[in-house]
């Protein structure tokens, strides 16, 4: 093959080295380098200015033992993931299945559903305050309740998850809709001829072919749950029942107390969880790719 025996001129090599070099330097310097540094710093008690002292696993012990927001953040992140995974994602799939037929107005319904996807989560957080505010909010006005939806520790995380789900459903719907459109219509027809009803046809025939899309949606869901930050920060800076791991990391650097080592330990916990899913995702993505 010509491609194998091709030779690059000196100028070609310069262009390649320069282009790829910049890409690698930026990626390593600003993404992977700091990620590794988080791991290193998590074993120190550095406060950002003084000397760096190695303290081994003590930050992790403190996190688990003497830092109350940690467990409530872990609980909230798990809830968040469960809510997106069990409620928002299946609902997005359900809407995609309904919209994946020749329907009048289908485009209108689609646009409405994914309108929130283009909004910043910070804006979603502000809009949530109009709906859920205890004094003037719409929900209390309509329902006649007097619940402090965003202030009461018992309910506020659920309310915020609904607001985050509002955006997530549209996202999932778009991706599944594209996946469904790519399914060979002959498959569904064959299932119908064999006497399968629509539900059987979907679960037995269509859904299994969506496997790659399912993996992607799963990863998006997990990543979104781990990244969740803007919306709670816009509402109350992630305090009083709205603690999340991402908020705790940020608190330890933008807050008054600069606890670099301690914040890094929380970041490492996030890293370990996300790497598990990233590796799963990439191995699905690059599987069987021999080129």
């Amino acid at each position: 093959m010509t491609a194998k025996t091709r030779r690059y001129s000196a100028r070609d090599v310069t262009v390649l080295v320069a282009g790829l070099g910049v890409a690698i330097v930026v990626n390593v310097g600003l993404v992977w380098g700091p990620t590794l540094a988080s791991v290193g710093l998590s074993a120190t008690d550095w406060n950002g200015i003084g000397p760096i002292e190695w303290i081994g696993g003590r930050n992790y012990e403190d996190l688990a033992g003497t830092y109350p927001p940690f467990w409530s953040a872990v609980r909230n992140n798990v809830l968040w993931l469960a809510f997106l995974g069990v409620v928002a994602t299946p609902f997005g799939l359900f809407c995609a299945v309904l919209l994946d037929r020749r329907l009048r107005m289908s485009r209108v319904y689609q646009s409405a559903l994914y309108m929130p996807v283009v909004l910043s989560l910070a804006v979603v957080g502000f809009i949530a305050q109009l709906v859920f505010s205890s004094d003037y909010g719409v929900l209390n006005a309509v329902s006649g309740l007097h619940v402090d939806w965003l202030g009461d520790r018992a309910v506020n995380i659920w309310v915020v998850m609904v607001a985050a789900g509002w955006r997530h459903v549209g996202y999932v719907m778009i991706i599944y809709l594209a996946g469904l459109k790519a399914v060979d219509p002959a498959l569904k027809e064959a299932a119908a001829i064999d006497g399968a009803n629509e539900r059987q046809a979907f679960f037995r025939v269509v859904f299994p072919t969506l496997r790659p899309v399912n993996v992607i949606v799963l990863v998006i869901t997990v990543i979104e749950a781990l990244r969740a930050f803007d919306i709670v920060y816009a509402i109350n800076k992630g305090r009083n029942g709205l603690e999340l791991l991402s908020v705790l990391v940020t608190e330890n650097i933008v807050g008054e107390a600069s606890r670099i080592g301690f914040g890094s330990a929380i970041a490492v916990i996030l890293l370990v969880i996300s790497l598990g899913f990233i590796v799963t995702y990439l191995s699905q993505l690059f599987r069987g790719e021999e080129r």
Partner: protein, 294 residues
Amino acid sequence: MTAAPPAPGGRVRPLRVLLHVFLALVALGWLLPLALAVYASLRPYDETARLGYFSLPERLTLGYYGEAWSQAELPRYYLNTLIIVIPALVVTLLLASFTAFAIARLRIPGRRTLLIVFTAGNLLPPQVLITPLYTLYTMVPLPAWLSDSQSLYDSYLGLILVHVAFQFGFCVFVMANFMRTIPEEISEAALVDGASVWKRYWRLTMPLCRPVLAALATLQFTWMYNDFLWALVLMSSGDKLPVTSALNNLRGQFFTDYNLLAAGSVLVALPTLIVFQLLHKHFVAGLTLGSTKG
């Protein structure tokens, strides 16, 4: 589509009516919060404080938009956003397209590893790396003409760089998949003519990538525009904040006028909603390009 789908037997199907009712209700429910934000932004504070947001209007006013626009100096923050997003977008697409070209079209050693590392980097939660990044930014000095803080921290350049670094992986992944679908013959013919690497990238491959570039540009504009976290952590001067993060400034220390905040939210959401309406085909293409292999 001119004709309605052929109905088996041609009956009026109650199921289809039910489907429409359900979808219409969901769509309405989805639009309601946005409509509420617009409605709240048009009503004076004392009125909503008295009657709540769910009430008929006595008076509608555009006053809050004026206030958000002039008192909160939104135009300045829009400009900040443009100063950050436009260069970040251009550099990301250039760097990512060249990298994708090298990975997909040239047989460079280690290309698979590179692609995996770049793609994985994009999937990390930002908080995983933000602490050392913040420290790094405070330690890198910049000349005063580039940044009045004289460090990468609290500079436009710093935010541009972080956007490029973080969004780059996704773009490389999408573009490499796309470029693989371009027939090799085009490149081979150019090879016979002795075209250089640069020419094959810029003159031969890039023009064929217009659809994917449009899709990525639309998507990335929205993502960079919507960024809240990077500016929050890597900026300290209030007057340099991009508009999404500046929205937080409309919230008072002790008292928040939610109608003003609603007007601000609508103004901040407007550009992305407009982009979405105008380029919505590209937007959807961008989201789904990443998820279905090219």
